[in-house]
């Protein structure tokens, strides 16, 4: 469903991505993990054409991503960022419906109701502005906005990074349920191995613009590909132990 081949990116002297391949099959949930600056956020942005790679090829559902096609691809892919990325001048409802009203699609109200149930957003939060919502509510609204046009693919970049542990745990459960119920193909960026292991069926670990190892959590624990993997796992241990 998501296919990256030999994708590279450099900023001046600094190489953000060495030639990188990545595949996410339909219905699969892949988590990109690694320390800050490892290239995971750059990689996920190339899928939406938010960053144009210097080389290589990106396709989503068979469609090549380039300057001309980016807008069309973005409308078929949901994207959630830390703290929701909500527009402060619009209410929760207006944020979620923004793209649908721009495209003048039908059934906006029905879809809003569906999404509120799906993400468990209280109805009274609908007409509040982002500044009047809690962090968890903002994240739920951000998720609703991403799912409004019923995308088959969902990208999440550190979606829960700004939340306290209790809210975070509740949202992790809700996210997992949403992935299944909506039948989504998901690419998720996180720096938390516990979250990656809980939400994803495959984990991809990156370091310095390269993929170091990919597989299930057990592979990382039992068969680290290089010393860095073991070091990374050790640093994550308290969370993974839960």
């Amino acid at each position: 469903m998501i296919h990256l081949q030999d994708v590279t990116k450099r900023y001046g002297e600094r190489i953000a991505l060495h030639p990188t391949d990545l595949d996410v099959a339909e219905g699969g949930v892949t988590a990109l993990i690694g320390p800050s600056g490892c290239g995971k956020s750059t990689l996920i942005r190339t899928v939406l054409g938010l960053i144009e790679p210097d080389g290589g090829r990106v396709t989503v559902n068979g469609q090549g991503v380039n300057r001309e096609s980016a807008e069309a691809v973005r409308r078929k892919v949901g994207y959630v960022i830390q703290d929701g990325g909500l527009f402060p001048h619009l209410t929760a409802r207006q944020n979620v419906a923004l793209m649908a009203s721009y495209l003048k699609t039908d059934g906006v109200d029905a879809r809003l109701g569906e999404l509120a149930d799906l993400t468990r957003l209280p109805k009274d939060a609908f007409d509040r502005y982002p500044a009047e919502l809690s962090g968890g509510q903002r994240q739920r609204v951000g998720l609703m906005r991403a799912l409004m046009l019923k995308p088959k693919v969902l990208l999440l970049d550190e979606p829960l990074g700004a939340l306290d542990p209790l809210v975070r745990a509740a949202l992790q459960q809700d996210l997992k349920r949403v992935f299944t119920e909506e039948g989504l193909t998901v690419l998720l960026v996180t720096h938390d191995m516990g979250e990656a292991a809980y939400l994803a069926d495959r984990i991809v670990l990156m370091r310095d613009g390269r993929i170091v190892q990919e597989g299930a959590l057990d592979d990382f624990r039992e068969r680290p590909a290089e010393p860095f993997v073991a070091e990374f796992m050790n640093a994550q241990r308290p969370a993974v132990a839960i």
């Binding site: 409308r75 990325g85 527009f87 001048h89 619009l90």
Partner: protein, 485 residues
């Protein structure tokens, strides 16, 4: 966009092109009074007359005449040869021939000489034993306050000081204020017109020009040769009817009544004509000026918004055009208003009047709008920009639906700043005959009359407050509640 703007400006200036004779006058009492006299005789001759009062200095009024913005204005022979033709010492016949080459005629000599002179307090002059300009050489400690025009003129302070060997360094002051400064002892010397009523009022002595520096300044009307014959005849009929004593009395009447029309009426009364002086009520004085002021501010601000917001949007993008736009609009702001008028008035499209004033105000209004638009757009967090992009909104829709609404409070603050500054700046429009509340201020300054100054200044200040309040209300109604919590 620019084409529409130009069209709008042309439409606005259309009423000025109506079939009227426009009389101009310079920014001092006598010129105002002579302008009013011309207004009356031309009206009697059957013309619709507009008197554009107190238009800047010689250069601006002369340009206005040659460009056809005005049809006639009072001038002095000394100024014509020294300043306009730049050929000192011409006789009247040669002067008239030279003027005719530029399409300008000269009416019959009105009957008086209003020369420049150097004046000081009579008692001080007596105490120090000063009777002639040569005597000043022995008193370099005296403080000279000289009018701006006289400081700059070819027949002005510099050649005068050179001829007499004067060493004091003069300060530039407004002519009407110089008399008040002289009587208060703030300055010791000033340039004067020999027919100024203040000479008698403040008991001043005009120092003898013992080396014969000052040329004759015989008063006359300059008019365009394409003016109807009947109008020229009416101006010529004024020839020889005003002697020096009469002119001093008329200037004194203007200073006493604070009303140039009343001074003109005194002239006609002396000629056996009883002219009913119409005294404008306070509303009649202020209301038309206020309307002009609103038009100046409204049109220039609207144009600045229409041009400034797109420019600011361009300037918000990284790249070389951004720096260029911001420094260019900043640069405009540093041009003094009089200098900008001086640059614009000779241009074919501009001249004196509404168009030039609106264009200048438009330029001055740009900076806060451009700067705030750019700043407001740049302040949008990158994550929000990216969110809008990731939704698949095209660039234009991102601007309209996301970026402008978020930057709106900052953009509106810029427009508000422009509007409030514009209300104040628009008072200088009077210097080029575009009216507005500044006309009352200028006319009050020429008469040294605080009451008239306040009639212009107080409404301008109130207007600025109202504009500020209106923008606060506008902000409350158009800025999203989400941006105010």
């Amino acid at each position: 966009m620019r084409r529409w703007l130009v069209l709008l400006l042309i439409l606005l200036s259309l009423p000025l092109r109506a079939q009227t004779v426009t009389v101009g006058s310079k920014k001092f009492t006598e010129s105002y009074v002579l302008g009013e006299i011309a207004r009356k005789v031309l009206t009697d001759a059957g013309f619709k007359v507009e008197h554009k009062q107190g238009i800047g200095a010689t250069g601006i009024v002369w340009t206005a005449l040659t460009k056809g913005d005005i049809g006639a204005y009072p001038e002095y022979t000394g100024t014509i040869s020294e300043e306009i033709l730049k050929k000192p010492g011409l006789d009247v016949a040669t002067m008239a021939a030279e003027l005719a080459k530029q399409g300008v005629g000269m009416s019959k000599d009105l009957g008086f000489n209003d020369g420049y002179g150097i004046a000081m307090s009579a008692s001080e002059a007596k105490r120090l034993g000063i009777a002639t300009i040569s005597d000043l050489v022995k008193h370099p400690e005296l403080k000279a306050g000289i009018s701006h025009e006289y400081l700059a003129r070819k027949d002005g302070w510099t050649p005068l000081a050179a001829k007499y060997g004067l060493t004091m360094r003069p300060d530039g002051v407004e002519h009407a204020i110089a008399y008040a400064a002289l009587s208060a002892g703030k300055i010791d010397l000033t340039d004067c017109y020999t027919t100024d009523a203040e000479i008698k009022k403040y008991d001043l002595t005009v120092l003898k020009d013992d080396r014969g520096f000052f040329p004759l300044y015989r008063a006359t009307f300059l008019y365009r040769l394409d003016l109807p014959k009947k109008a020229v005849a009416a101006l010529d009929a004024l020839g020889g009817t005003i002697d020096e004593k009469t002119m001093i009395a008329l200037n004194a009447e203007a200073n006493r009544t604070k009303d140039y029309g009343a001074a003109a009426a005194l002239y006609f009364k002396g000629r056996g004509q009883n002219v009913q002086v119409h005294h404008d009520t306070l509303t009649e004085q202020i209301a038309p000026r206020l309307l002009e002021h609103l038009a100046l501010v409204g049109v220039s601000l609207l144009a600045a918004v229409l041009v400034g917001i797109p420019l600011g949007t361009l300037a918000a993008r990284p790249g070389p055009s951004s720096g260029f736009i911001l420094s260019f609009t900043g640069l405009i702001q540093t041009i003094p208003s009089l200098a900008l008028f001086g640059l614009l008035v000779p241009l074919a499209f501009f001249g004196i009047g509404l168009r030039t004033a609106i264009f200048a105000l438009f330029l001055y209004s740009l900076l806060p709008i451009v700067r705030n638009t750019a700043a407001g757009l740049r302040a949008i967090p990158p994550a929000l920009r990216e969110s809008a992009e990731a939704l698949g909104l095209p660039a234009a829709a991102r601007l309209r639906l996301v970026e402008f609404p978020i930057a709106l409070p900052t953009i509106l603050a810029g427009v508000k700043t422009s509007a409030v500054i514009n209300v104040g700046t628009a008072t200088i429009a009077a210097l080029i005959g575009a009216g507005g509340l500044g006309q009352l201020i200028q006319s009050g300054l020429s008469l040294n009359d605080n009451e008239t100054i306040l009639k212009g200044a107080v409404p301008a200040a109130i207007l600025a407050l109202i504009v500020q309040g209106a923008f606060d209300l506008l902000e409350r109604s158009v800025v999203s509640k989400g941006l105010r919590t």
